[in-house]
């Protein structure tokens, strides 16, 4: 029952994911950014990117724990919107902040560990974004799923990026804890236990959904 009623709101993922960008655009247009506006934009693209990434790995566990199959379909838009924010975030760094001075950018990447892991997260996201379509899924077959398991490396890297740049580690640690729980819920033992709890025999269903995605 709850399954059906919540599903009706799944479309909200689009306006909600775009809301931070819209607010950022409005504040930019109205000159409401802080006097260190580059930092402002970095923050307001980085945080949505991280939130969306964590939400994207929450979809499968939501299905595991609550049996919300519809949530699985949100992985793609959440992941792609996350990629959009990461691209804007990276563009802020390279173009706005460093004026495309590639020498200086390379030095920063090489010497700041938080930028190094952020760059790794970005580079790993690129193939996922490029293959987030039916054609690529068909072409890659079984490998598509293997490739997309990369997201479980990307999110911890992004959390580490946030942790290493933070003055106050607590928000990053919260994201880290959430990521940890979500990763644990991927463990086959737990998945089986949850589906058995929900309804006996559901594990067969699960496997079907899995291969279908």
């Amino acid at each position: 029952m709850i399954n059906i009623s919540l599903k009706r709101f799944a479309w909200l993922v689009h306006p909600l994911a775009l809301l931070p960008l819209a607010l950022l655009a409005v504040d930019t247009a109205l000159d409401n950014l802080s006097v260190n506006f580059i930092q402002d934009i970095t923050e307001r693209t980085g945080i949505p990117a991280l939130v969306l990434l964590v939400l994207s790995i929450a979809c499968t566990p939501l299905n595991t724990v609550f049996g919300w199959k519809w949530a699985v379909a949100l992985r793609k838009p959440l992941g792609l919107y996350a990629f959009l924010y990461v691209c804007l975030h990276l563009l802020t760094f390279t173009a706005l902040d460093y004026g495309l001075d590639w020498g200086a950018i390379a030095t920063e990447v090489g010497e700041k560990r938080y930028i190094l892991v952020g760059t790794a997260a970005f580079l790993l996201l690129v193939p996922l974004a490029l293959t987030s379509n039916k054609a690529a899924m068909r072409r890659l077959g079984k490998n598509w799923k293997r490739l997309h398991l990369l997201v479980y490396a990307i999110v911890p890297l992004a959390v580490l990026h946030y942790l290493w740049l933070s003055k106050d580690p607590r928000p990053a640690l919260l994201f880290g804890a959430a990521t940890g729980v979500l990763l644990l819920l991927r463990l086959p033992v737990l998945r089986r236990a949850f589906s058995a709890l929900r309804k006996p025999g559901a594990s067969v269903d699960r496997q079907k959904t899995d291969t279908a995605m």
Binding site: S34, D97, Y98, G99, A104, K112, D168
Partner: protein
Amino acid sequence: MNARRRTWPQIAASEITPEHIYRSRRQFLRAAGASIGAGLLVACAPSDGSSAAPTPAADATSRLPYGVGTVDELGKAANSFEQITTYNNYYEFSTGKEEVHTLASGFKTEPWTVAVDGLVGKPQSFDIDDLRTMFDQEERVYRLRCVEGWSMVIPWQGFALSKLLKAVEPSAAAKFVRFESVSRPEEMPGQNDIFSFQWPYVEALRLDEAMNDLALVVTGLYGKPLPAQNGAPLRLALPWKYGFKSAKAIVKITLTAEQPATFWTTANAAEYGFYGNVNPDVDHPRWSQRSERRIGELSRQRTLMFNGYESSVAALYQGMDLAVNY
């Protein structure tokens, strides 16, 4: 002379926000007098300062190591009052720089006394009102380089720290000066945070650094009393050091024989050294020290050794390995 005097306010008026109109005639004359042939000419210089050299004699004898009016000695215009007072790194209130000015709006800066004690001949407690009048108040335009990689140009008012220290007569054994900031958790939300630092904020200098003429005790900004978010009623401005060295809301100054533990060396010794000198060659794990973002400008600029005050302070560190003593 007259021609020069006329030139200066014109430049200031065109360069800068209306805030500069604060200057009283007397202050103006004093500042102009101090800057003849120096700050005056520098103020007229193009921003790279390269073609602005006054006559060699004037350059050698009277060039001030800092700016006057609303332009720094390199010819860069000061940041606006709004920029300086809405973007503040002040952990006692918050780690969020944009919210400090709101959180600090109810902070009480009167009455206020500053105790100066330790290895001194005349330990004393100064009332803030006396401090504002005891010593000649000067206006100096300093660059402020934050360790986080941003910077501003700020027209401070205050007096040389050396004057205050001389007044209490440091004893021969005194080698360091420790500055303690106020502890007032009921008015400073950041001090209540459970993920907390060791309050109060403490900073320190070697005595010879503290006696350097650039070390300024600040009481005002843009001709107005110092706003709470900028460290009222009394803070330091040490322009050759990262901003964290310039303690705010100081209540106690103690001269010591041993190097004091400071807030940041206690909290994170790997990232913050005792000296905190601006140095593009010594990196910080998070923020770029090679370049900086000047608030109000789009493109980054190279960070200068000792923030551009090398000629005034380099001698203090002669023979020291600055990569070790960062």
